[in-house]
Each structure stands twice: as structure tokens, then as C-alpha cells.
């Protein structure tokens, strides 16, 4: 995958994390107002839950970008370390999806 020149991966990571946390916060704020406004509780719950899922995905994106940063340095140890973290996160997700 090509990355634009002049946009270091660190900057990309920071922007994506900000986007992730901002959009999840927006979902949670809207969902919370729906709770308080006595709107349909299941809709409110769905909106808040979506926000929480986006929030949980945000650090995972940071790890994915760390893999790219490691690959760019060509340091095999750094690549192996970041790949191991991806593996653990994958295990967590797999266990969660199959009911722990």
C-alpha cells in the first residue's frame, strides 16, 4: 500500500485515533441523550453500543499502523513484536465472538 509523502505514519496514526475517538464519542453522546429523552431504549442502546465498538477498534488501528512502521524500518525484531500484538488481539476477538 502506498502512503502519501510528507505524511508520516505517526501523523496518520494520530489522525485515525482522533477520528475513532471523536466518532465514538459522538455516537455515545447521541445515544445517551436518547436514553435521557426517553426515546426507544433499544435504539439508544444500539447507538451507544456502536460507539463502544468503534472505541474498542481505535487502539487496534494504532497497532495495525505500528506493523507498517515496523515494516518500514526493516527491523525484524520490531516486526515480530508488532505482529505478536496483532496475534493476541486476534485471539481476544476470536474468543469474544465465540462466547469467551
Amino acid at each position: 500500500m502506498n502512503e502519501p509523502d510528507g505524511m508520516p505514519l505517526q501523523t496518520l496514526a494520530a489522525r485515525l485515533m482522533l477520528a475513532g475517538v471523536t466518532s465514538s464519542a459522538a455516537c455515545m453522546a447521541v445515544g445517551l441523550l436518547m436514553y435521557l429523552g426517553l426515546a426507544d431504549l433499544s435504539t439508544a442502546n444500539a447507538v451507544v453500543t456502536f460507539g463502544l465498538i468503534v472505541l474498542m477498534a481505535t487502539p487496534a488501528v494504532r497497532v495495525a499502523i505500528s506493523v507498517l512502521e515496523a515494516l518500514r524500518t526493516g527491523d525484524w525484531l520490531f516486526v515480530a513484536l508488532t505482529a505478536s500484538v496483532v496475534l493476541v488481539l486476534g485471539l481476544t476477538l476470536g474468543l469474544a465472538l465465540t462466547g469467551g
Binding site: 475513532g20 475517538v21 464519542a25 487502539p59 512502521e69 474468543l95
Partner: protein
């Protein structure tokens, strides 16, 4: 999880939501200031004041840790301080341990966890107080930082400073403990990592805090999906806490750039002492 541990119905009123938003704001401010995540203040609050069981308080705590971590690591001021290579080395240990903890937590007695946690935080608080005046930076930018070391511009010295890491095996061990604490109690593992990296591994406090801020989110997300899947994340309370923490952490991060390392250490030691006593009392009662 035996059915008796789970509350029959969480009573969530607008007053509860307002209370949790306010507590989140205070927790977020202190958490961002110290680079340890807001969970360490919020989880005891949710247990004592709101009356949630530990598993639900921890589930909410993990969400606030992720939020604090994301905001702090997205901020431009701390980015140069993050030592990603060192962070990823420690992250392998922290994430594995957090995953294991999330699997084991439903089988461990609460009082054992409280006692362990109280002891560990008391030791680290004492360690921080003992090393208030110690500095780890080398005031010569031409020094080779080594494989896991780093360099950054330090305001206090007004120049580029370099640091080398040492005793990394201790750092890995502490990361294992940090991951376990994060995965069982829902607080940021940074509460263990920052003092240990600073005191034992030769990482300057601010670099340790910035690196830890990135790590605690990844550590939290190594166990959060399991809490989520078990239904231990109360959606409205988690949202209220996260929104509070987001507002509070902005204030904390702004203030953190202006506070001196010595005061940060003193503040952190005080916080650790308070948390230690809180859990000791909880264990005995």
C-alpha cells in the same frame, strides 16, 4: 459466572448518569495528567459510590482507559516522546497477560485481587517517593540510545536529550503484571508501568508516561471484548464515563505539559497510596 454475582437489574437514572459523567471528568483529568488512564480512580468510585459489582465497574473502566489512551496518544505534544519500539516489546507481555486475566477473572476470588493490588501499588508509591530527585536523561544528543532507547526535546533542559534502557527483563515482568491488573480490575496498566520504566529501566518519566499512554489502550482492548461479550459493559454507564473522561483528559493533558517532573512524581505517589488504602479497606471489610 454464577448468576448470583450478576445484579438482577442495574438501576440507571439521569442522576446516576450525571454522577458518572462528573466522576469520569475528574478521573480523566488525573489520569491524563499522570499517563495512567482514568480507570484507576473510576473503578473504585463505581464500586463504592454507584455500587456496581467489580466485573461491571471493570468493564466500564476498560472503556475509559481506551478513551484516555486514544486522546493522549493522538495529541501532538506527547507524540515525540512515545518509544514505540520499547512499547511494542512490553506490549506483547501486557496484551497476553491481559487476555489471560480476562479469561481467569471470573474464577478468581475478589479479595485475593484486592490484596494483591493494594500491595503492588503501595510498593510502587514508596519507590516513587524514594526517587524524587533522580534523573535518567543524558544531556548529550550524540550518545547512542541503543536498540530500545530514545531521544526527545526536553523543556526543562532546553535541549535534545537521549536515554538508554536497562533491565528490560524487569520491564517485561512489570508489563505482565500491568496486563493482569488491567484485565482483572479494569484500570490502566500504566499505574505499574510508568513508575517501573522510570525507576528500573532508565526511561525518563515523560517518555515513560507517553509510551504507557499508547500501551494502556492496547492492553485494555486485549481484554475489553471479552467483558463486552459477557455483558459486563453497561452501555449507558460506559458512555457516560467515557464522555466525562474525554472532557477531563483534555484538561489533564494541557496541565501535564506544564507540571514539573518532581510534582508529577509526588502526585503519582499520593494517588497510588490512596488507591492502595482503598483496596486494602475493601479487602478487610
Amino acid at each position: 459466572m454464577p448468576p448470583s454475582v450478576r445484579p438482577p437489574q442495574l438501576l440507571i437514572t439521569p442522576a446516576t448518569i450525571a454522577l458518572v459523567i462528573g466522576a469520569g471528568a475528574v478521573a480523566g483529568c488525573l489520569g491524563a495528567l499522570l499517563g495512567i488512564g482514568g480507570g484507576v480512580f473510576l473503578v473504585p468510585f463505581l464500586q463504592f459510590v454507584v455500587g456496581l459489582p467489580l466485573n461491571v465497574a471493570a468493564g466500564v473502566g476498560l472503556m475509559t482507559v481506551i478513551a484516555t489512551s486514544s486522546v493522549v496518544s493522538a495529541g501532538s505534544a506527547g507524540r515525540q516522546l512515545v518509544n514505540l519500539r520499547l512499547g511494542m516489546l512490553l506490549q506483547v507481555a501486557a496484551s497476553s497477560s491481559a487476555l489471560l486475566a480476562a479469561i481467569l477473572v471470573v474464577r478468581l476470588p475478589e479479595k485475593t485481587l484486592f490484596l494483591l493490588f493494594s500491595t503492588v501499588t503501595a510498593i510502587i508509591a514508596a519507590l516513587m517517593l524514594a526517587r524524587l530527585e533522580r534523573r535518567n536523561v543524558i544531556l548529550d544528543a550524540s550518545v547512542d540510545p541503543g536498540r530500545f532507547g530514545g531521544c526527545f526535546y526536553e523543556e526543562e533542559s532546553r535541549c535534545e536529550v537521549v536515554y538508554r534502557t536497562k533491565r528490560l527483563s524487569l520491564g517485561v515482568l512489570v508489563s505482565l503484571a500491568a496486563g493482569f491488573v488491567s484485565g482483572t480490575l479494569g484500570i490502566g496498566g500504566g499505574i505499574l508501568q510508568v513508575p517501573a520504566l522510570n525507576a528500573w529501566c532508565g526511561v525518563p518519566l515523560r517518555a515513560a508516561a507517553a509510551t504507557s499512554a499508547v500501551m494502556i489502550g492496547i492492553t485494555a482492548v486485549s481484554s475489553a471484548p471479552l467483558y463486552f461479550a459477557r455483558g459486563d459493559v453497561s452501555a449507558p454507564l460506559a458512555a457516560a464515563a467515557v464522555l466525562g473522561v474525554l472532557v477531563g483528559s483534555r484538561a489533564g493533558f494541557w496541565f501535564g505539559g506544564r507540571a514539573r517532573a518532581k510534582w508529577l512524581k509526588l502526585l503519582m505517589a499520593g494517588v497510588l497510596g490512596f488507591v492502595s488504602l482503598t483496596y486494602l479497606w475493601k479487602m478487610l471489610s
